[in-house]
Subunit: 403 residues, 2 copies
Amino acid sequence: MNHIDGGVCAAKGFLASGVHCGVRKSRTKRDLAMIYSEKRCAAAAVYTQNLVKGAPIAVDQANLADGYAQAVVCNSGNANTCNANGVEIAEGMCELAAKALKIHPKDVIVSSTGVIGQPMSLEPFETGIPAAAAALGMNHADAAEAILTTDTHSKEVAVSFELSGVECRMGGMAKGSGMIHPNMATMLVFITTDAAIAPDMLQSALSDVVQCTFNMVSVDGDTSTNDTCAVLANGMAGNAPVIAPGADYEAFRAALCEVMRTLSREIAGDGEGATKLLECTVTGAADLTTARTAAKAVICSSLVKAAMFGADANWGRVLCAVGYCGRDIDVTKIDVDFASAAGRVAVCRDGAGVEFSEDEAKKVLLEKEIHIEIALHSGEFDATAWGCDLTYDYVKINGDYRT
Amino acid sequence: MNHIDGGVCAAKGFLASGVHCGVRKSRTKRDLAMIYSEKRCAAAAVYTQNLVKGAPIAVDQANLADGYAQAVVCNSGNANTCNANGVEIAEGMCELAAKALKIHPKDVIVSSTGVIGQPMSLEPFETGIPAAAAALGMNHADAAEAILTTDTHSKEVAVSFELSGVECRMGGMAKGSGMIHPNMATMLVFITTDAAIAPDMLQSALSDVVQCTFNMVSVDGDTSTNDTCAVLANGMAGNAPVIAPGADYEAFRAALCEVMRTLSREIAGDGEGATKLLECTVTGAADLTTARTAAKAVICSSLVKAAMFGADANWGRVLCAVGYCGRDIDVTKIDVDFASAAGRVAVCRDGAGVEFSEDEAKKVLLEKEIHIEIALHSGEFDATAWGCDLTYDYVKINGDYRT
């Protein structure tokens, strides 16, 4: 597997665009993204588990019930959530896209991200969606930009991989910065591939991989109302379609895992106000749920996050988070290390503090990517979770997000 | 029931002191508190549910197994948690206190608060505990000060109440600012009363009242390793002892509830870096667990907390938190109001936004105490939770707590 350029346009037959349509007032900010495949695609998606759901999610669930889609349309600036006419608007966006692209409205995936509960109208889309269709090309970067909200940079990835000797490509783009604590999918993630794969195998791979990627990311513990991760596979690579488990399914799954893990790290590292990416690895757990729950508890702890912002080796907060995660853990066996490009420092052995150099620890924690490594010595299961530090800027961004 | 002065010395026969013993380097900060009752007391306590527990908790569980105690000794500056010799030190503190007070070591309740995993020695207590015993008097304010860490002010309360016509008194002191998300008790809370009540009735009242008071407080979602709430009842009011459920038990329970609710609000309002007390009330839930879980999810949401700091009526975040709280709630029936001393503003009806004046909302949210009122219209159960806003100072305090 190799990383390549091209984002969501890396796979054969996929075009994209990102334009300004007017949902946002600022004319300098793109607010409408479109992805289009020349051929109809097998499609799969996972969504937020929040009971309060954005209106587009209900429309997507209906549109993807047959396992196929051909385009994505997504606006930023308004989440289309808790609006009286939300479903009508989401369906209207699909119809406008279908008309502009000459496809069926049920083959459109629609998403929205931004403020919840703001009035929304179809008006900006009446000219915006045809303009986005007209702008379709290898414009993956424009599309990746158009879905951002408080993100500080675009998040794109693409890889090439082989299925039974045939080269395939897969690319993805994501947005997500605040309100990230996905319980089923994450914020908005769109992945395209030219591999041929049956819809049920695609959904199976997606539902599986999301557990160890986006579901292990937390920025602030708040599960969004609009989380969606959708994958489109148009088969144009010409491989023998993946219709059952086996070597090709595993190779496809590995590519999907690489794309989704890369985007997970990008989302965590660009958490609102973040200055550092935190990666917490728990090893030696008695079961997988314990490994995942403990890793995520550490990543979610406000006290751990603030300590990492301050490059303070306050490992007691790591142990504290493991202790309250709700799983049965022998805390007297826990070892904790902090590591980064600047080195490694052991801070806790058998659940108790060990002497370490504060200067050395500070040097390790001043890096941009920090690894918190926790060994439970109680079994064979491992898990990794990603998060970010808690900073003044998180508070600033969220203290007055709407203005 | 009337509020009175005197804190933990309000009840007959209780003395207190707060001195500097040297656990903290700063000589201007008291770091050792003592409470003593002339008579042996019925005693009850609840503790953190974190698996990582401070060493004093194991000692207290053993000491209170018989339902009686006579004194409390508590230091700030070091949590005596994840230390190799923690139990030895906690037992040593009890022995020093017992010797100074001429009581049995098993009748001492010991607590510690501060940094986790720092080396600790008995040495400061060898002179400090006798000095605290010598300083005993009506010094409730000194004691309340000596247990503080990042708290900005002492937290004390006292009430008088009647049991079958006999006047009784109850007073309490608390500390707690960061690492507050009690799952059984809260940070350190010590309550004294001269009411006569059997140990089992006292434990029953405490375990009951903690559910709707300290367990409904969250500052940052981190459950401490040292949370302890202990009550001492010395019987010196002369009432007929409360030994069974009935009117006197209910009157005692009401006084305990008032004391614990007052301290809960104090703890939430003095959350690390907080500028506002948040009180979230959920009404009309189908069951009590749903009411409590939803209220606490709102209070715990970093996004809600940051919006309140910015006086931003971003009610979508309130709905979002209710939606991910994990209980089965009909989100299309939810109403949300924001209220304060400056007025009330309706922001959501039937799960969707309603028009409101942003100026009016800003005025309401600029107050120091904000009420978030959520009506579920699905049943008869209510709950209230307390929290605080998320501010720059929370990050500052926790970015470098240890230095």
